[in-house]
Amino acid sequence: MARKMLIKALPASWDVEISQAGNGVEAMEAYRAGKAAVMFLDLTMPVMDGYQVLEALQSEDLNSFVIVISADIQPIAQQRVKDLGAIAFVKKPVTSEVLEEVLRKYGVL
């Protein structure tokens, strides 16, 4: 559901291929397969959470724009993910306006 909500909020004009991952381990597999030029990352996930994914990405040279999409809106959480290399933090529920703004700001769109 979280993924459907996000995909619906992505700009319709954005010509990209979308891969989905149900947890951090699947996300890392997609990343290693070169499918994550941009990664939308949840923090609360089973098996491997978002913080662990960011740490793993850092140890594997972080070749991806990571935008964290999270319900955890604590300022410390936002600071932590940025310290771990995420370029942006978007709070849930995500809207297409906010997403487009973030994507434009970082020149991904």
């Binding site: 909500m5 609360t44 955890d72 604590q74 529920p93």
Partner: protein, 211 residues
């Protein structure tokens, strides 16, 4: 009487809505305590009331003693929220909020009630706010009764007595909050009767259909 279990899609959607609501609850708690709060992935289940006690026991540990606060709500949804604190919960809370060691019984209870009130309000507020966005109809407000202590240092298995509940099934929505470098852990559990469960199910189906 039996009630249909949630489909995978319904559970998934409700889990996400609860996740968002609990994020707000966690942020409120973090603000009060000035510390970082870890949130779990919400667990959602429809249970028979007789299973509720066992399910809570499994979450908390059957041998544990707990202190619990209950708060009922009505309006668009009707039910009862229960905030369960582990044994060390109160001491750690008091400590974090800068009380001295000798918190008396009344002050301790007040603290537990206040924290429960914040968690329940933020959580249900978050859920009803999102549901309002889906159903787009008036009258989705909730009102809350004052919270009360339902158990103090009592064995977890004695917490919920099915004979005292007026409904046969419950929608169990469970998240736990833990604090870093502290023993504090609290669980929040929402119990709703069948008619409210049906309402939630209907709204969730609309929500799913909108994607």
């Amino acid at each position: 009487m039996s009630i249909a279990p949630l489909s995978d899609d319904q559970r998934d959607a409700l889990q996400e809505i609860t996740n968002i609501a609990m994020g707000q609850a966690g942020a409120s708690l973090a603000g009060i305590l000035d510390t970082f709060v870890n949130l779990s992935v919400p667990r959602i289940n429809i249970l028979e009331v007789v299973q509720v006690a066992d399910s809570i026991g499994r979450l908390v540990g059957h041998d544990k003693e707990v202190t619990a606060v209950r708060q009922s709500f009505q309006g668009y949804l009707r039910g009862e929220a229960i905030v369960i604190y582990g044994q060390d919960g109160c001491k750690d809370l008091a400590d974090l909020m800068g009380y001295d060691e000798d918190l008396d019984g009344a002050a301790e209870q007040e603290l537990l009630l206040d924290v429960a009130n914040v968690l329940v309000g933020a959580c249900l507020g978050g859920i009803s706010e999102q549901l309002r966005g889906i159903v787009d109809q008036p009258g989705t407000e909730l009102s809350f009764c004052a919270p009360s202590i339902m158990a103090e240092c009592a064995p977890v298995d004695t917490l919920i007595n099915p004979d005292n509940l007026s409904w046969t099934h419950a929608l169990l929505m469970e998240v736990n909050f833990t604090l870093e470098e502290r023993n504090f852990i609290s669980h929040i559990v929402m119990l709703m009767p069948e008619d409210a469960i049906d309402k939630v199910r209907g709204v969730i189906d609309q929500f799913i259909a909108s994607f």
